[in-house]
Symmetry: C2
């Protein structure tokens, strides 16, 4: 296994860079790598490079960057907006969502959530590690928590907001429209315009009737359902990202 490390700073063949103390410790004490060991370094701006350990000791590590192995490329533009739930579920959303190519994770506070337990630094570390393992070039951004109404005040309306509205539909109503029932996400994706998207997944208790009604009245919001079973919030996040990547992203890419 060749260790693959994300590096924020510029990457260029022939250059040398110092690793962070944590990375040096991980390579030396956990993976037991020595001078000459092969690495990969990557970031979204410069791509992925081969590299070798030039120095490694308790004081730190220096890496010599070799040839570029992958050029940077455009990645699908989908954000995941999620109402913070239990810590394990939030961590799962970030880990699996990173593997599924989400560009950013935005914690949004709704009437039925609070973010007391949200540890942004830990989520950033999970996103970085998942990106290193899953062969992405980018590491997704973890946004600061914000109230959903505030988040929508600054919403870029060229982005589609896919609203996973699992609960609350009245089965007697017609499909579609602000008052009607939400369509299955698979159908909605066939009709939605392509381009940047954000997926909104609610808290375990769902959105309040007031939230549902103003969200569904916004012109760039597409309400969707995710099948006949009730999904937990973390499952809904993974399933909706999968369906988006399959329909509009790169999951169908050969």
């Amino acid at each position: 296994m060749i260790p693959r490390l994300h590096h924020e700073g510029p990457l260029e063949a022939g250059a040398s860079i110092a690793l962070s103390g944590d990375e040096a410790h991980y390579l030396r004490a956990v993976l037991r790598r020595e001078v000459g060991a092969e690495l990969r370094l990557f970031n979204a701006r410069d791509g992925e490079f081969g590299a070798r350990l030039a120095e490694i000791s308790k004081r730190g590590a220096v890496v010599a960057i070799e040839a570029r192995r992958r050029a940077p490329k455009d990645e699908p533009d989908v954000e995941l907006w999620f109402a913070p739930v239990k810590r394990a579920a939030v961590e799962l959303i970030v880990q699996k969502g990173t593997e599924l190519g989400a560009r950013a994770f935005i914690p949004v506070l709704t009437d039925r959530t609070n973010a007391d337990r949200l540890r942004i630094d830990r989520l950033k570390a999970i996103a970085k590690e998942a990106a290193e393992q899953c062969d992405r070039l980018s590491v997704p951004r973890i946004g600061d928590p914000r109230r959903i109404a505030d988040a929508l005040l600054h919403f870029d309306k060229s982005r589609t907001l896919i609203f996973c509205d699992e609960a609350g539909d009245d089965p007697s109503k017609e499909w579609g429209g602000a008052d009607g029932r939400a369509a299955p996400m698979t159908d909605a994706m066939r009709e939605a315009k392509r381009g940047p998207a954000a997926i909104l997944v609610g808290p375990e208790g769902g959105f309040t009737p007031a939230e549902r009604s103003w969200l569904r009245a916004l012109p760039y919001v597409i309400p969707v359902t995710l099948g006949p079973r009730i999904l937990r919030a973390d499952t809904a996040a993974i399933v909706s990202l999968t369906l988006w990547q399959a329909a509009h992203g790169d999951l169908a890419q050969r």
Copy 2:
């Protein structure tokens, strides 16, 4: 929240049944339900019924079954065959796979797995709890671990085996065929015949070249890939079930 309990035995309006000691304890000591409290009881054979607690004490609980609320119905027939990985990942596969409607979870041993850590009873409990929470009528079956070659000896060939063959394809080869590259699952599902399926997800290290080659030579096996990022085994299980349910199952159901 009305507690929803799976009950193996026959369910019929007007009948009374005794709950298990665990269930009685859960209702009394955890949920603090008293005589008269409303419940739901369900199983795949009889459907879902309203019910009320008729007796509850330290010695047990008796439930009076009321009217049927949902008739039994056919559920999509997809099994998940998985190579046991770390305990947390296996538990996640069973929990999320239950929410995604898998009918059975079959642990299969490959050259790169062992099942030392597999706790079948715990997996059964996770499947039951997830089924109760997600509104399914059935509880998926947890199979006994078996070697993959043995499992395939008794394979019902009317079932399609979707082989998530993430690693090992030679990028210089053509698409398709026993030797060629596997197609993205989204494409493969459009062409595959409908009907019962099993999805096979390998261990973290992937299948060996020998396993890949005899698996891909079987006429009922469809090798597939799951996009450009490398998914962990648990993520691959969730993503492949999602894509199957979207294409051939009930995820697109209105």
